[in-house]
């Protein structure tokens, strides 16, 4: 070994004089990762509704400088540590052990939880929430649950053609939305109607989209549950899986260039992480240092594909480090944990200009959509257990009751009110006319070309000749 090193020592100065491949080594000033414990979030005065409750954050900090071939070399070999080499990418120590990194950890990455199953606080590290915010969160969770139940039934009755429920994921939806600001841009997949609900989309607006009537902001052009609202900074849902993830990264880059005090958030499921778009987006987010929160709803199922047939890693959280993205695993059925995690992630994303990956472990208690019957591929007992024992709405209610903020009377009133509101919205939406047939032909050309104009005329004649009712 000594012989080898001394020989190597003679070769290296010779190599150092040459430029070329070795000349591309970064001269970044860092030499090794360092950890900082106990650094509390800075500047909590920005958040008016949350008061910090001691969050020691363990994070690493790096500054990358871009590689420039014309800068001078730093020593390729450290004089004090001949057992390391400055490879492209940074100093790496050598080891004599032929040892492989295990494909799966001894213990799965721990999951951050604040509320126990009976609504009791089990953590001292979480963001305290204003009473008003907590109550709004609960009301919106109940409203979401009610809306999902009633719209699902409406689809079954043939009144709407399709629907997507978020049953079991109410905390993921509402708590994450509550931790954001209206300026933060939302890039959803399709199981995040609750985020839009939190932001002020009314039940009537939801119903109008599902019925595709002329009040729908999408002019009836999309399937039900494909909401979009630019005034709520909620980008229109598209059926393409995971395409929203690189979009969120690009938009985050745009926010960074503008120096905005805002981030983007994008949601996707466990299945979405298998796509090429997820990989590209994670990598780009890290390299471009984009202020984006990548929120994975790991609910165990991608239609009928269970997670053990989707990937073999310890879930999604471990992939963060693979891309150089900070990550955390949280209990997705725990509203306080989700709130704290998103709140912290948002601060980091904006102040440090970095992506953050959040994996929320939860369960898809409903079917994939109304086109699915999940009892065909999973046991009914499993669905029932999660629905009952891990209901995020019930857990949050228990905590609110423990805090003296909620009681049975309020519950009955809220449930009745929500149900009535949803039923009424459906009745109203059903009676409103569909968008006019003219809207088929708009929003592509500013001046319709002759072929399209001909088609519109021809369609008009067909409708007249056969006395078709084009408003239903």
């Amino acid at each position: 070994m000594a012989l080898y090193l001394s020989k190597y020592g003679k070769i290296l100065p010779h190599l150092q004089r040459k430029k070329g491949f070795l000349g591309l080594i970064s001269r970044s000033p860092w030499s090794s990762r360092f950890r900082q414990n106990g650094a509390a979030l800075s500047d909590s005065s920005r958040t008016s509704h949350a008061v910090l409750c001691e969050i020691p954050i363990v994070f690493t900090s790096r500054r990358f400088e871009s590689v420039r071939a014309d800068k001078e070399l730093i020593p390729l070999q450290s004089a004090s540590d001949p057992q390391a080499l400055n490879f492209p990418g940074g100093i790496v120590k050598f080891t004599p052990e032929l040892k492989f990194l295990s494909e799966y950890p001894e213990e799965r990455m721990h999951c951050y939880r604040v509320l126990g199953e009976n609504g009791e606080i089990v953590s001292s590290n979480f963001v305290q929430i204003d009473k008003d915010i907590a109550l709004k969160m609960y009301k919106d969770m109940v409203t979401l649950q009610t809306m999902d139940t009633v719209f699902y039934e409406a689809q079954r009755q043939g009144r709407i053609s399709f629907y997507v429920t978020a049953i079991g994921e109410e905390a993921v939806n509402i708590a994450s939305a509550a931790a954001l600001r209206m300026d933060d841009l939302v890039f959803p997949q399709y199981r995040e109607a609750g985020v839009l609900l939190w932001r002020g989309f009314t039940i009537q607006e939801f119903a109008d989209q599902c019925f595709g009537n002329k009040n729908d902001y999408g002019k009836g052009r999309q399937m039900p549950a494909h909401y979009g609202s630019s005034k709520h900074n909620y980008f229109t849902i598209a059926s393409t899986v995971a395409t929203q993830i690189p979009h969120a990264v690009g938009a985050a880059y745009s926010l960074k260039m503008d120096g905005q005090d805002a981030c983007t958030i994008t949601y996707f499921g466990d299945g979405g992480t298998s796509t090429g778009d997820f990989h590209a987006a994670m990598n780009f987010a890290a390299v471009m240092e984009a202020p984006v929160i990548l929120f994975c709803r790991n609910n165990g199922w991608a239609i009928s594909t269970p997670v053990d047939e989707q990937f073999r890693s310890d879930g999604i959280v471990v992939r963060g480090q693979a891309y150089g993205v900070r990550s955390i695993r949280v209990d997705g059925n725990d509203a306080l944990a989700v709130f704290s995690a998103v709140h912290a992630a948002r601060e980091m994303a904006i102040s440090e200009s970095k992506p953050v990956l959040i994996e929320a472990l939860t369960y898809r208690a409903g079917h994939h959509t109304t086109s699915d019957d999940s009892s065909r591929y999973r046991p009914a007992e499993e669905i029932e257990w999660w629905r009952a024992a891990q209901d995020p709405v019930a857990r949050f209610r228990k905590w609110l009751e423990g805090e003296g903020l909620w009681e049975a009377q309020s519950e009955a009133e809220l449930r009745a009110y929500a149900r009535n509101e949803v039923l009424r919205a459906i009745q109203v939406a059903e009676r409103i006319n569909k968008p006019s047939v003219e809207e088929v032909f708009t929003d592509v050309y500013d001046v319709p070309p002759p072929n399209l104009a001909d088609q519109e005329i021809s369609l008009g004649e067909t409708i007249r000749r056969h006395q078709l009712d084009s408003s239903v």
Binding site: S66, A69, L185, F187, D216, Y217, G218, K219, R221, Q222, G228, S229, S230, F235, T236, A238, T240, T243, I245, P246, H247, A248, V249, G250, A251, A252, Y253, S254, L255, M257, D258, T264, G276, D277, H279, A280, A281, N283, F284, V287, M288, E439, D443, V444, P449, P450
Partner: protein, 303 residues
């Protein structure tokens, strides 16, 4: 990729990194799907990205984002999402780059409502159309040509003005003629002009139209020309089936049928993946003689 420090694979972006800095001229990791998606996301919120593909063949990796995330978004969101993005890169055959690097994508992209597709020929075309594309608030696919990068063209003083734009959707009549209309785009415009010279020596006066814009297609200029000449030859490098020529034929048959004195002739690339060896590669693409022969056929003259 490589647009920054490398100054661009074909040096199109030379000097831009130095002028505008690394925040605006980005070298990206290698994934066309990734950087097209990032570009669309940036366009969704405020920026006007210009995404470069090293060749348009690689745009196939990103085609879902180009079509489904960019082109269709305005319609699908009923006007709530606008996408002011340009996707550009060299298109069609180069020389000796093989089947996977030689395809012409004009026909595929031009089928999509919500996209504009521009194909410059000369330097003035490239300057005026690219500026128009970047200023356009909607997605534009800008198909350049690797071999044309090396060709010089006369440039007028007007074209050097920083606000020089060419209107999208207008074709240019490069050479006036009376006997036959020849439509072409990109590199084939040069071939069509040479063919017109040869035809002139044989007493046939050919009108050469440089399409400049495949979507929207300038059907008015094409039909006006055919109504004048009564004969049409369409020329393109791409594959024949469902090609640009097919659409032009259909348009002329629909709108100017009574004016035609001869069946429309389509000249296109050979219906095979592009071979590599130089001699057979030449056989796979239209040559000037092919255009001359086709024009003579429409005039009832055998070659």
């Amino acid at each position: 990729m490589q647009v920054g420090e490398y100054q661009g694979a074909y040096k199109i972006t030379k000097g831009l990194l130095k002028k505008y800095g690394p925040e605006r001229v980005l070298d990206t990791p290698i994934t066309e799907a990734g950087f097209a998606g990032i570009g669309v996301g940036a366009a969704y919120h405020g920026l006007k990205p210009v995404v470069e593909f090293m060749t348009m063949n690689f745009s196939m990796q990103a085609i879902d984002h180009i079509i489904n995330s960019a082109a269709k978004s305005y319609y699908m969101s009923a006007g709530q999402i606008q996408v002011p993005i340009v996707f550009r890169g060299p298109n069609g055959a180069a020389a000796g780059v093989g089947a996977q690097h030689s395809q012409c994508f004009a026909a595929w992209y031009s089928a999509i409502p919500g996209l504009k597709v521009l194909v410059p020929y000369s330097s003035e075309d490239a300057r005026g159309l690219l500026k128009a594309a970047i200023r356009d608030p909607d997605p534009v696919v800008f198909l350049e040509n690797e071999l044309l990068y090396g060709e010089s063209f006369p440039v007028s003083a007007e074209a050097l003005d920083s606000n020089f734009v060419i209107p999208i959707g207008k074709a240019k009549i490069e050479r006036q003629g009376n006997d036959v209309t020849i439509t072409a785009f990109s590199k084939m415009v040069g071939f069509a002009l040479k063919a017109a010279e040869t035809l002139a020596e044989e007493g046939i006066s050919a009108e050469v139209i440089n399409l400049r814009s495949i979507r929207p297609l300038d059907r008015a200029t094409i039909n006006d020309s055919v109504r004048k000449t009564s004969r049409l030859v369409t020329v393109e490098e791409g594959f024949p089936q469902h090609g640009v020529g097919a659409e032009i034929c259909a348009s002329v048959v629909e709108e100017s049928f009574d004016y035609l004195d001869a069946p429309v002739e389509r000249i296109a690339g050979t219906d095979v993946p592009t071979p590599y060896a130089a001699n057979i590669e030449r056989m796979a693409f239209p040559q000037v003689e092919d255009i001359v022969r086709a024009a003579k056929r429409t005039c009832g003259k055998s070659s």
